[in-house]
Symmetry: C2
Subunit: 147 residues, 2 copies
DNA sequence: TGACTCATGTCAGCATTCTGACATAGATTG
DNA sequence: CAATCTATGTCAGAATGCTGACATGAGTCA
């Protein structure tokens, strides 16, 4: 079972993918009744915490391309969850903001997502969470600028 | 910045998504020159470690639907990386196996992916990795059967 | 045995995301 | 000042994955 090669069962990368997959599924499950996808929710949450973010910044924050985020933003704008000025105040960057409707929609979603996080962290001590936090941050850092 | 709600900067769920995203990008980068996607590689690696896996089992192991894996498997079979019997030995389950060509193709990919894992784990002690492993496994477990 | 449930392989259609490309605005650099 | 580089918003086409659906084989149970 564990020959020379990397064994999937003990690979941190594989487990990382599994955890991310299970988390995504759990979030989709609680967001679906609200008619919201994970990327959809991420966009609203980002705008709530940092109003005025541009399309490209939102894309980076939600880990999708700016083209994908643009499609989503146009839909959110059309449905009245988000507003953007008709012309860019400076350069080409269009700062986006939540409308009251967007804020209301986000409230329910946040409660749903929070319940998932609580369930996910059940049975874990603060020390364990902090340790995992450090390790994940180290991984991200090493993979990003390490060539 | 950190009001009542969950702050993305300190959310373990968000960091998990980020780490997974960065890992996936790093893997895609080293696999692209080999003409291989991450799911493609996952399928081959699973078959190397557990020959005879069925389409549905491979799908679960690679975290995609069995429909998606079926499309991939048919392409791999057509191109001679994988072989499946024409008829099911028992039931409808078709056990898949790597061909010599598939094994050769996997060797290069494994080396590339291993280099990514090494880079990802650089600067982390064995204790830290073990701690992260435990936490991730706990998360997966809590999210899976917790309703 | 017969009805029921569950898992599998597979086809078709749809949704989401990505890659490629273009024009443009700001920053940088010689 | 002019050229170059970088980042942005956006459009179009392609790839990838998903949901829905169907028939079929195996196990369960009364």
């Amino acid at each position: 079972m564990s020959q020379d090669g990397v064994d999937l069962e003990t690979s941190l990368g594989y487990l990382l993918k599994e955890a991310s997959s299970v988390l995504r599924a759990a979030m989709e499950e609680v967001l679906r009744p609200l008619g919201m996808s994970v990327t959809h929710y991420s966009c609203l949450e980002l705008l709530a915490q940092r109003p005025g973010l541009s399309n490209s910044e939102l894309a980076r924050g939600a880990f999708v391309t700016r083209q994908s985020m643009n499609v989503l933003l146009q839909a959110l704008e059309r449905d009245g969850y988000v507003s953007r000025p008709a012309e860019a105040p400076v350069g080409k960057v269009l700062p986006a903001r939540l409308t009251p409707r967007g804020r209301r929609s986000l409230e329910k979603a946040t409660a749903a997502v929070r319940s998932v996080e609580v369930r996910m962290l059940a049975g874990l001590s603060g020390d364990e969470q902090a340790a995992a936090f450090r390790v994940l941050r180290s991984m991200v850092h090493s993979l990003r600028d390490g060539a």
